[in-house]
Amino acid sequence: MPEMNLLEAIRAGIDEMMAADERVYIIGEDVGKRGGVFRVTEGLVDKYGEMRVIDSPLAESIIVGSSIGAAMYGMRPIAEIQFADFIFPAFNQIVSEAARIRYRSNGAWDVPMVIRAPFGGGIHGALYHSQSVEAFFAHVPGLKVVVPSTPYDAKGLIKASIEDPDPVLFFEHKKLYRLIKGQVPEEDYRVPIGVADVKREGSDMTVLSYGLTLHQSLEAAEQLSAEGVEVEVVDLRTLRPLDKETILNSVRKTGKVLIAYEDNRFLGYGAELAAIISEEVFEHLDGPIMRVAGADVPAMPFSPPLEEAFMPSTEKIAAAMRELAGY
């Protein structure tokens, strides 16, 4: 079983799907000859040609809008938004059109489309290359939102997303692209959308996370383990539809919850998790539901100390775990 980093796993998944199904094609800025700014699609244009790996103009509304039309017509587009920060010109197409086609047509039409977008900070990307945008889309019924955090999950999830009959937003944390390596099977497999994964078992508290903060949470859990506190870390993997059962079972077991995510704290994804937990398993709670999240400031700062101040980290998460353990 080969070892791959996150972006190689995503590329492998796309490659296999393109080889197996000629309806699958890629469209985005610099995805062809350049292979994408992060090289996720590197080499695919040589293999599948310019008709299936399309360099688009700098116009996200075209990338998404044309993909919606193609998907409705029977194609399986993979639209790449170069940075999640640039997705907003296509917000209308995604939220008002793609998400609603099935509903609007009473089930007659669907939009089997994937929109890939690298998100997140910690790479000195500053204001326009660091945002977390998942909460905007996870809010909308009709969309699926997937955030893979390991190479295995990334490959299994990109394949499941391409096959999915609905529009899937596939958010990849750009700092994880080369940071995280893992064993990825060569044989064909899927990781189903809508299923969370307990990445680490523990009895004293549950940490819910995805993306970069998932890995920071796993590191922090190791620190806490040395101090005698066993932390269970749940990788959400899919933000919508949410795997409530895995989450609630874990909370029933541990009684304490910490939610770690990089997006701005206020009305970020953790807010919904906290609400669901207190509504559904209130009687199992043994402490306040806590969050470690990005600061509520307008944008990711460029200055390295300020960026560090904004970003959740292993230390910040470990500190929150200690506080919650001591409650």
């Binding site: 004293d204 009684g255 304490k256 209130f282 009687e283 199992h284 709670l285 043994d286 402490g287 001591g326 409650y327």
Partner: protein, 447 residues
């Protein structure tokens, strides 16, 4: 789910009500809006209706008992549930026991088994939902556990550790114990707060200053206080304690009133109003209140509250006591209007059909004690008003009159008018000025 039926709030300032009569008994069927019981508050009797089609399962408050607004007075079952549960409350009570005995592992009767809150609650700090649940499921007395959480809070782990140690200690002796506990009937849950309030004795009004209980004589009988009697007692004592009462008296010649009434009685009758003397006194009082507005006021520590509205209460004696229905905005009514209003209020007072707002909002009161033969009295002010007019019996008396400069003795229908006023805000001369307006209006009557 059975419906808790609560004592309704029957007026702005009403805080409690007495169940005077149940029109339905436990087990009876009730229709939506069908009168179910009669409730007496301070001054009003009301029928209270059912909020559902269904069955009256249980009466919680017997006739004669007074409970605060919001207290549960009965348990109802809405139609479909009544059919499902059966109408006998006894069956209902037995059902949970049978069920909990059956409910083995799959359905633990968690709520039923919940032990009563330990007394040492405060000392244990915050009890989290998880700890409360775990303790209930395992019948753990939390006072036996030392907390290791923040500020000594008992954590979930503390409870789990305790359960583990307890089961280790008990293991050989009582392996079968959990099953036995599950089959046991519930620990009786503490009654909800409201119930406890209703069960508590009715608070005694500060009516009588504490006096030694009277020595019982042979044949003595203790008659329970009605809500009305209690309210009257409380109010009278409070008024005497609140306002320094001073009374001034004048005598009025009602010749013109008597004549006018004789001349117009039939005409009023045709218009559906019985013309009594009371509307004349109300009419004269309105003029006086307009000319001397300080009497239409309330003394407060913040200042004298001058009322713009002129709402005149008219005391009406009824067998159970005394009520004071109010003619609202009396200054806007003609003599005919006042007659109708007074007739209506008096009728409804006697037939006990007054609404709460009929007895609220008065700014001045008239008591016509003359109807029972009294010629002169010093009534107690109806708080928070500033004064009360007492009207004595109208009697023909020989009086000295002066006509064309010649004194003569004449027989005239005379009446003593007393004004009892709150000396905190009204001085003697002002009171006399006020009473003089009433006297003038009556003696020089012209509508």
């Amino acid at each position: 789910m059975p419906i808790e039926f609560k004592m309704p709030k029957l007026g702005e300032s009403v805080t409690e009500g007495t169940v005077s009569r149940w029109l339905k008994q436990a087990g009876d069927r009730v229709e939506l809006y069908e009168p179910m019981l009669e409730v007496t508050t301070d001054k009003v009797d009301t029928e209270v209706s059912s909020p559902v089609n269904g069955t009256l399962l249980e009466i919680r408050v017997p006739e004669g008992e007074t409970v605060p607004v919001g207290a549960v007075i009965a348990i109802l079952a809405a139609e479909d549930e009544a059919a499902a549960n059966g109408t006998q409350p006894t069956e209902e009570a037995q059902a949970p026991v049978a069920k909990s005995a059956q409910a083995s592992v799959q359905q633990r009767p968690v709520e039923i088994q919940r032990p009563e809150r330990p007394a040492g609650d405060q000392a244990q700090g915050f009890i989290s939902p998880a700890v409360a649940r775990l303790a209930a499921e395992h019948n753990v007395d939390l006072s036996q556990i030392t907390g290791t959480g923040r500020n000594g809070r008992i954590t979930k782990q503390d409870v789990q550790r305790y359960i583990e140690e307890r089961s280790k200690a008990q293991q050989p002796a009582s392996a079968a114990q959990p099953a036995a506990t599950a089959a046991q009937p519930a620990v009786r849950p503490t009654p909800p707060a409201e119930e406890r309030i209703s069960a508590a004795p009715v608070p005694q009004p500060a009516a009588a200053p504490a006096v030694l209980p009277p020595a019982l004589l042979e044949g003595d009988e203790l008659v329970p206080l009605t809500a009305m009697r209690r309210a009257i007692a409380e109010h009278m004592v409070r008024s005497k304690r609140t306002s320094p009462h001073v009374t001034t008296v004048m005598e009025a010649d009602l010749s013109r009133i008597v004549a006018y009434r004789e001349a117009h009685k039939a005409e009023f009758e045709r218009q559906g109003a019985k013309l009594t003397f009371t509307p004349f006194f109300v009419y004269a009082s309105v003029r006086a209140l307009q000319e001397v507005p300080i009497v239409n006021a309330t003394y407060t520590d913040e200042g004298i509250l001058m009322h713009r509205a002129i709402n005149i209460g008219v005391a009406v004696a009824i067998p159970e006591g005394l009520v004071v229905p109010v003619v609202h905005n009396a200054d806007e009514k003609s003599l005919l209007g006042l007659s109708r209003a007074v007739n209506d209020l008096a009728d409804r007072a006697r037939s006990r059909r007054l609404q709460q707002n009929d007895v609220e909002g008065g700014t001045f009161t008239i008591t016509n004690h003359g109807v029972s033969g009294s010629i002169f009295a010093m009534p107690i002010i109806n708080q928070p008003q500033a004064a009360i007019l007492g009207v004595g019996a109208i009697q023909k008396r020989p009086v000295v009159i002066t006509q064309h400069g010649v004194d003569a003795i004449a027989i005239r229908p005379m009446c003593y008018l007393s004004l009892t006023f709150d000396h905190r805000l009204i001085d003697g001369a002002t009171a006399d000025q006020f009473l003089a307006v009433i006297k003038r209006e009556l003696e020089e009557w012209k509508e």
